[in-house]
């Protein structure tokens, strides 16, 4: 574990790589709350209320942190370099100046220490929000997360709550060195006791983080770092919206195939859907948003409409979240399926060197290839 050198700290410019070019369509269904929402294509855009602003995802996360700190004295942030520096991605920019040392805590460089002490703070009545600097550096804390944090409520018979949020920038496509581009979500999703969410838009980043901080359960909040600088409208909530943690969104309606994705690959799926539309294929895109629990009713309802399904994520497909989606779709929607459910994702290799990552990451072309195979079945 090491602090990345300056060269690893991305400048606040659009990320390179698998994310779509600026101007790619924002997720239209990004309403803040409620059950599965469906945004009809071409629906008239409502006039934005006064408290709507255009923010990059990093700014939306910053705003959610600020609103949570302001709204509850028990909320505090902990992490490496999150104080005066504002974090290596500047996500906590300005919060130290506004809320001070006691609430925006620059910790020693020890991830197990960050999560372990966060658990103790939670036992003492606080709501710590931990920042892990990069995905690949979460593993020193893996023991505390899986053996302690995930089990505390259970082993105490419900007497002890540990409302800890762990923010982890994850995913690749930014040309980084080893340990800075990984997608470890399946390792956490396999652990009972944790909730896992990941936004794909600034609005979802805001809503999901506020809900995660308000939740009595521990939440792993995965931030698609390749999307940090993509912009969208964000409507601030006076209080965290209820019921947003466990819900998927249908972000594009379609009739021929369902593309299931989350975090960084929602943009990839939407781009693929654009291309498919020009070829006469209507793809529906589901943004899972929550990986534990999975909003299976939303996915299955979509597959029942389309009869075909392709799951897209950056993480290795073997033993992954997509494998769980495939399994459940096959169990629940078998008679609706016109083709086997396919996966597009990373390979069973360590995350490769940056010069090869675009061959590793699920590109629009690889999604189109999978859709072709599904349609041809």
């Amino acid at each position: 574990m090491s602090t990345p050198t300056v060269t690893l700290r991305p400048a606040p410019t659009p990320a390179l790589g698998a994310t779509p070019a600026p101007g790619a369509p924002p997720a239209p269904g990004a309403t803040p709350a409620g059950s599965v929402t469906r945004a009809a294509p071409g629906a008239p855009v409502a006039a934005p209320p006064s408290d709507v602003q255009t923010l990059a995802m990093a700014g939306a996360i910053n705003l959610a942190l600020r609103d949570s700190l302001a709204g509850d004295d028990k909320v505090l942030l902990m992490g490496e370099d999150i104080g005066p520096l504002g974090g290596v991605f500047r996500v906590t920019d300005g919060l130290h100046a506004e809320f001070g040392d006691r609430r925006v805590v620059d910790t020693p460089l020890a991830e197990s220490g960050i999560v372990g002490t966060a658990i103790g703070l939670a036992l003492c009545g606080y709501r710590p929000v931990c920042e892990i600097q990069f995905d690949g550096f979460v593993f020193p804390a893996f023991d505390q997360i899986t053996t302690q944090l995930a089990k505390m409520h259970y082993r105490s018979g419900g007497r002890l709550q540990v409302p800890v949020v762990i923010r982890i920038p994850y995913g690749g496509g930014i040309g980084a060195v080893e340990h800075h581009s990984e997608s470890p979500e399946a390792l956490f999703a396999h652990t009972a006791g944790l909730r896992i969410v990941t936004p794909s838009t600034p609005q979802d980043a805001y809503d999901l983080l506020r809900a995660a901080i308000a939740s009595p359960d521990p939440v792993i909040y995965l931030e698609p770092k390749g999307r940090y600088w993509s912009k969208g409208e964000v409507e601030r909530g006076a209080s965290p919206a209820a019921g947003v943690l466990d819900t998927a969104h249908v972000v594009r309606d379609g009739t021929d195939v369902t593309l299931v994705s989350y975090g960084p690959t929602v943009a990839t799926a939407l781009q693929a859907a654009d291309t498919l539309a020009t070829e006469g294929t209507s793809a529906e895109v589901v943004d899972l948003r929550s990986l534990s629990p999975l909003d299976l009713p939303a996915v299955i309802a979509s597959v029942r409409r389309t009869g075909r399904c392709v799951v897209v994520h950056e993480a290795p497909t073997a033993h992954g979240v997509g494998a769980e989606v495939v399994s459940r779709v096959t169990e629940e929607a078998f008679h609706s399926l016109e083709a086997p459910v396919l996966r597009v994702g990373g390979f069973h290799t360590p995350y490769p060197v940056a010069k090869l990552e675009h061959s590793y990451l699920p590109s629009v072309d690889r999604v189109l290839d999978a859709v072709d195979r599904s349609l041809a079945y």
Binding site: L76, R102, T107, P108, A110, S112, G113, G116, T117, A118, I119, G120, L121, A122, L123, C124, G125, Y126, P128, P140, D143, Q144, T147, Q148, K151, H153, Y154, R155, S156, G157, G158, R159, L160, Q161, A192, G193, R195, S215, P216, D217, D246, S292, P293, L294, D295, L296
Partner: protein
């Protein structure tokens, strides 16, 4: 290879191995801390130590009879545990590992509840808030970081250095010599030191980490490690209940007043096996066990009580009867702790509903109903 780890030399002692009070320039500050301990207090400590020993013996028998899956004795460590626990203010919070039966005796955790985990009917067993005593932690060193975090919470609550002894709070965390090798202990000391956290690191060095002697963990006395973090540290005779009490009280006063963390190494001996699954005859000598049997902490306190005219025959007889009643109660009530219903495994996985758990719980209920209807 043991010379670097110190041993019995240089320990702060208030009672020698025969229970005679020791007066040296080195222990003067600790004598002052223990000055308020009167005969009644000593008898209360003795009672807690004796009941802890009885608890150990009964639990070990229950395990041998197949009534417990496993048990880890505190045998030999009663002075370290009871002495340190007597120094706690009611509002202080303790994090045990899994062997601190003496600490939990003093904190008033019901002895039957302490065996729920070992019986296999609960992963916890009591309400931590009711006793200001956290649950047992089985992963080595995890609780040391939790304690540091809790202490950081106390700081934020403004309950350090208020000058009001009924309000100032601190945390005492218990861990052993083997656990000092865990990274979490290192990280906890780093976090506690830089945050000046109101925390006492109470290290019971019982000289054995299952089969590994302390020389497999360290080349220096473990208390010396504290100095590297800037944490004041002291080595005390862990079989001397007064020294353990005084050193913990001293550390707690520092924590309460805003002076930050302290490391107390209580040098003691694990008189029993690591757990009921262990066999110490494979790795240590009978002569060593005999050496330490002559340093039994309970005998030492009994000798002091007798020498100072505080041993009351009637009191001792009543205590024996209380101990027998405890044994009887454990033998009866532990056997009555039945398996919880299968559906309870789905309870409290989350504090709020989780679709996967809800679905699997419903499946299990339906499956069980079917099994019942179709035996």
């Amino acid at each position: 290879m043991t010379e670097g780890c110190a041993g019995e030399e240089g320990l702060i002692q208030l009672l020698d191995k025969d229970g005679v009070r020791v007066s040296t320039p080195e222990n003067e500050a600790y004598r002052d801390q223990a000055a308020g301990v009167d005969g009644e207090d000593l008898r209360a400590m003795y009672r807690a130590m004796l009941l802890t020993r009885r608890f150990d013996d009964e639990a070990t028998s229950l395990q041998r009879q197949g009534e417990l899956a496993l048990f880890a004795q505190a045998r030999g460590q009663e002075a370290a545990q009871v002495g340190s626990a007597f120094a706690l203010a009611p509002q202080d919070y303790v994090f045990p590992s899994y062997r601190e039966h003496g600490v939990l005796e003093v904190r008033g955790v019901d002895p039957v509840d302490r065996l729920r985990l070992f019986r296999g009917v609960d992963h916890g067993g009591w309400d931590p808030a009711e006793h200001n005593a956290h649950l047992y932690t089985l992963v080595l060193g995890s609780q040391v970081l939790h304690a540091t975090g809790y202490a950081m919470g106390i700081q934020r609550d403004g309950l350090v250095g208020t000058g009001d002894p009924a309000r100032d709070r601190a945390v005492v965390v218990y861990f052993g010599d083997g656990t000092t090798s865990q990274g979490d202990v290192h990280e906890a000391m780093v976090f506690a030191a830089v945050n000046n956290a109101p925390q006492v690191f109470f290290l019971q060095n019982n000289q054995w980490a299952i089969s590994e002697p302390t020389s497999r963990q360290t080349r220096v006395p473990l208390a010396d490690r504290g100095l590297g973090y800037g944490i004041p540290s002291v080595r005390v005779d862990g079989n001397d209940v007064l020294a353990c009490y005084a050193a913990t009280l001293d550390a707690l006063e520092r924590a309460h007043s805003g002076g930050g963390p302290t490391l107390v190494e209580a040098f003691t001996y694990r008189m029993g096996a690591h757990t009921t699954s262990d066999d110490p005859t494979r790795y240590r000598e009978a002569a060593e066990e005999e050496h330490w049997a002559r340093r039994d902490p309970i005998d030492r306190l009994a000798a002091l009580l007798r020498a100072e005219g505080e041993w009351d025959q009637e009191w001792a007889a009543a205590l024996d009867a209380e101990s027998d009643a405890l044994g009887e109660r454990l033998r009866t009530e532990v056997r009555l702790l039945g398996a919880p219903p299968a559906g309870s495994m789905f309870e409290h996985v989350y504090a709020t509903e989780h679709a996967t758990v809800a679905e699997e719980r419903a499946w299990m209920a339906e499956y069980e109903q079917f099994e019942e209807a179709n035996p």
